[in-house]
């Protein structure tokens, strides 16, 4: 088994609720709301207006700079282009499409004649046009990751760790669609020019490992499945690289700096579909689970499906549901409304009705040091908490708070139930603000000095 990373926690994985259930197709929703920001980078510009007719796979949002295009996920009429609530909080310009249930495929979707004959440039272009982003939640544009990694990367890793509790979407995908994953992996190997792709899977998903190994053997694919120790956050990019290669991503760096590139299971499938069928990202597998869901399930639905439709397909929510989380319970974002759509990075929708959070009124640190043992980034959360709560920005920076990836392991394990991760989100912002202010001050000083110099010269 692959060498493990330092620290981490082992929460109850709660996966039994959904890991035996096959991915279901959602009955087509009457309306989809497609936000123009589903990627890391600036939001897309809408290409359609109210009244337009759109077909499945038609491009409706174009990106500028860093980003990925957005496509219609159903055919029908554009009802409105207006700001709507979305999963990152607040409102975002969205295209609202009324489904005509005809499921017409756009002419833009063209399968290549021979996928195996594609050049690397053509493949990257198709990945870009398909609007593929990292679907584990980070939503970094995939074509950028590939272009910037070519030449630097010697190890391509596919992330099947799925270490967050409750979520089983990747688990079911690996089990039900192993040929898509292996196919996508082969394309990735070709693009990066490497002779081997590693799929990292936590060893609590033995059946996935077997299913994929079977396909690998049949196709004689250059892919290896690596079982990983079951420990949160095993699926964190940096931890995964560490477990598989033994190398550590330098502070502030990317996996490419140590010759690694990491792709999510769903991203790999999307690459396969884009390069074989020309199909852009219009669907997403979402795990709907948690103590507030009557009948938890894995559902595949069009992008833009209102999450309430997902909950309806799972028998609705229980009385007393007090929290909706977009993403996993460790890093997901709590939502203030159920009026949000499924986006490209939405891997799970959880509803909580029981006291999972176990908060206390006045948490008091007892200095037990469990947060230090749990931190996969080798930080000392208890001291960082003190600095952040007292506004000691320089000390925060010296304590390497910017290395914190907000995985939540420290908060999870804390017996005093301190709000550590929350404090670090605030603390990181404080450090960023201070850096910006320092930079501005330094520039102003430089400018003043130059002006003075000029005045003297005159």
């Amino acid at each position: 088994m692959a060498q493990a990373f330092f620290g981490g926690v082992h929460p109850n994985d709660m996966k039994a609720a959904t890991n035996e259930k096959a991915i279901e197709q959602l009955a087509p929703p009457a309306e989809v709301v497609i936000p123009m920001s589903m990627h890391f980078g600036a939001p897309c510009t809408p290409l359609v207006k109210a009244g337009d007719h759109v077909k499945v796979g038609q491009k409706i949002g174009e990106f500028r700079g860093l980003g990925a295009p957005i496509h219609a996920s159903v055919s029908g009429t554009v009802k409105a282009v207006e700001p709507r609530p979305y999963s990152m909080g607040g409102n975002m310009m969205s295209v609202v499409i009324e489904n005509d249930f005809k499921d017409e495929l756009s002419e833009e979707v063209k399968a290549p004649a021979d996928p195996d004959a594609l050049t690397v440039e053509q493949m990257i272009e198709m990945v870009k046009d398909a609007g593929i982003v990292g679907m584990g939640g980070a939503t970094f544009p995939t074509h950028v990751k590939i272009t910037s990694g070519i030449g630097k990367v010697d190890t391509v890793i596919i992330n099947g760790a799925e270490c967050e509790p409750d979520i089983t979407g990747d688990h079911r995908t690996m089990l039900e669609r192993p040929e898509e994953i292996i196919g996508g992996a082969k394309f990735l190997a070709k693009m990066f020019g490497v002779d081997k792709v590693v799929i990292g899977v936590e060893d609590n998903k033995r059946n996935c490992i077997d299913a994929m190994n079977k396909v690998i053997a049949e196709q004689k694919a250059p892919v290896v499945v690596e079982p990983l120790r079951c420990r949160y956050p095993q699926g964190g990019e940096k931890q995964l690289c560490q477990a598989i290669t033994g190398r550590q991503v330098p502070p502030g760096g990317l996996p490419a700096d140590i010759g690694c590139a990491v792709f999510n299971i769903n991203t790999t499938c999307a690459i396969y579909r884009a390069l074989t069928q020309g199909m852009p990202v219009v669907k997403k597998v979402v795990t709907v689970s948690g103590s507030g869901v009557v009948e938890p399930k894995n559902i595949e639905c069009p992008i833009g499906t209102p999450v309430s439709k997902l909950f309806d397909a799972c028998g609705g929510l229980k009385d007393g549901t007090f929290k909706l989380i977009c993403g996993g319970p460790m890093m997901g974002m709590a939502q203030y409304t159920a009026d949000i759509p499924v986006a490209k990075g939405t891997g799970a929708m959880l509803a909580f009705a029981e006291d999972e959070e176990r908060t206390v009124e006045t948490p008091q640190c007892i200095r037990c040091g469990k947060c230090v043992s749990a931190c996969p980034m080798h930080l000392e959360p208890l001291f960082m908490y003190q600095y952040a709560s007292k506004g000691m920005v320089d000390e925060l920076n010296d304590a390497h708070i910017m290395d914190c990836m907000e995985c939540g392991a420290c908060s999870y394990i804390c017996p005093a139930r301190m709000h550590l991760t929350h404090m670090f989100k605030t603390g990181k912002q404080m450090v960023k603000d201070k850096m910006a202010a320092d930079k501005a001050a330094a520039e102003a000083k430089k400018k003043a000095a130059e002006e003075q110099k000029e005045a003297v010269n005159k």
């Binding site: 549901t321 319970p329 040091g369």
Partner: protein, 341 residues
């Protein structure tokens, strides 16, 4: 069907789940780990051991509750840390001390050492040890009068004679009376706890059992106790005194006095011990060395209490100097970074 418009949602920051373990459950584990030693104390020293411990627990919890109430601070008595202090303070006193005296110790431990510095997690030395130190300084006589269990014929009902005092193994060792020591107590007596001493410190076996329970429950890590006991063992093995054999001297040293109680229950106190595992090793070694030094060269028979308290004071320094290695920075680069500073 669910009414999605009227859900009463709370939107808090991640993570949204927490481990079941909390401060109270940790303290409860510590209390459970001390129960075998308490039962042994009752068997050896009589019901007074139990009542004294209970009085101490009630005293500590009352002072904690009262102080928080009086100062209008959020109540913290439910976390049971005061109860742990109460038991520990009773454990380091002779069974013969009067009830009022232990209450003074409770007051000093809880109010002066713990609450005046901000309560749980803020005290700079171990409250129970500080309580004992205060009592020893104030009432040296009663705090060093030891009941001899061997001469106590009906132990459950308290001392049969007025008070039968006995020399503890440590007293013999201090005065170099090796012949008397080995005649009165053999090594097995030391290990099982058929000796005189403080209420809860006599049985090495049961304290080790409690310590193993805490390690198994992941309440403490092995680093501090192992470093502590190993240091005492090594130093005493290398430098036996008064012509005793190396092994004998070492065994009498680690089983006698408060080494086991100190290593497993006092030096591992979260608030007053280092955060990192490496720091805990340094802390344990420091405690071990000081314990032996005080026993060899100091005026007291026993050095556990003061050695831990002195090491408590350098915890901040240890925490400052022993940091986890930064993720993603290899050793050579770290040295370069340090050199650049």
């Amino acid at each position: 069907m669910t009414d999605y418009k009227n859900l009463k949602l709370i939107a808090t920051s991640s993570p949204h789940i927490r481990a079941a373990e909390n401060t109270r459950s940790i303290m409860l584990d510590v209390i459970i780990a001390m129960m075998p030693a308490l039962v042994w104390a009752v068997v050896k020293f009589g019901f007074k051991a139990l009542t004294l411990t209970l009085v101490s627990v009630v005293g500590c919890m009352f002072f904690e509750w009262g102080y928080r109430k009086l100062m209008k601070k959020p109540q913290s008595v439910n976390d049971l840390s005061a109860a742990v202090t109460g038991i520990l303070l009773a454990f380091v006193c002779p069974v013969t001390v009067p009830y009022w005296m232990i209450l003074i110790g409770d007051f000093f431990a809880i109010v002066v050492v713990k609450q005046l510095f901000g309560g749980i997690g803020k005290n700079f030395v171990n409250p129970a040890l500080a309580g004992r130190a205060a009592l020893v300084a104030s009432y040296a006589g009663p705090m060093t009068t030891w009941l001899d269990p061997a001469q106590n014929t009906a132990p459950l009902f308290g001392p049969t004679a007025d008070v039968i005092t006995a020399a503890t193994p440590l007293a013999y060792m201090k005065q170099g009376q090796i012949a008397e020591l080995t005649a009165q107590y053999d090594v097995m007596d030391m290990f099982l706890g058929n000796i005189g001493g403080s209420l809860g410190e006599v049985s090495a076996l049961l304290l080790i059992l409690g310590g193993l329970y805490l390690i198994w429950r992941k309440v403490i890590s092995w680093h501090t106790p192992v470093a502590y006991i190993a240091t005492v063992a090594v130093v005493t093995f290398l430098f036996p005194r008064y012509g005793a054999s190396n092994v004998d001297w070492m065994l009498y040293s680690i089983f006698g006095g408060g080494v086991m109680l100190g290593a497993f229950f006092m030096a591992t106190d979260y608030t007053t011990s280092p955060i990192t595992k490496k720091g805990q090793l340094i802390f344990g070694i420091g405690c071990g060395l000081l314990t032996v030094f005080i026993r060899y060269f100091g005026s007291y028979n026993e050095g556990v209490c003061y050695s831990i308290m002195v090491m408590n004071l350098v915890v901040a320094l240890i925490d400052k100097s022993v940091k986890p290695s930064r993720f993603g920075v290899v050793k050579s680069a770290q040295k370069k970074e340090a050199a650049a500073k």
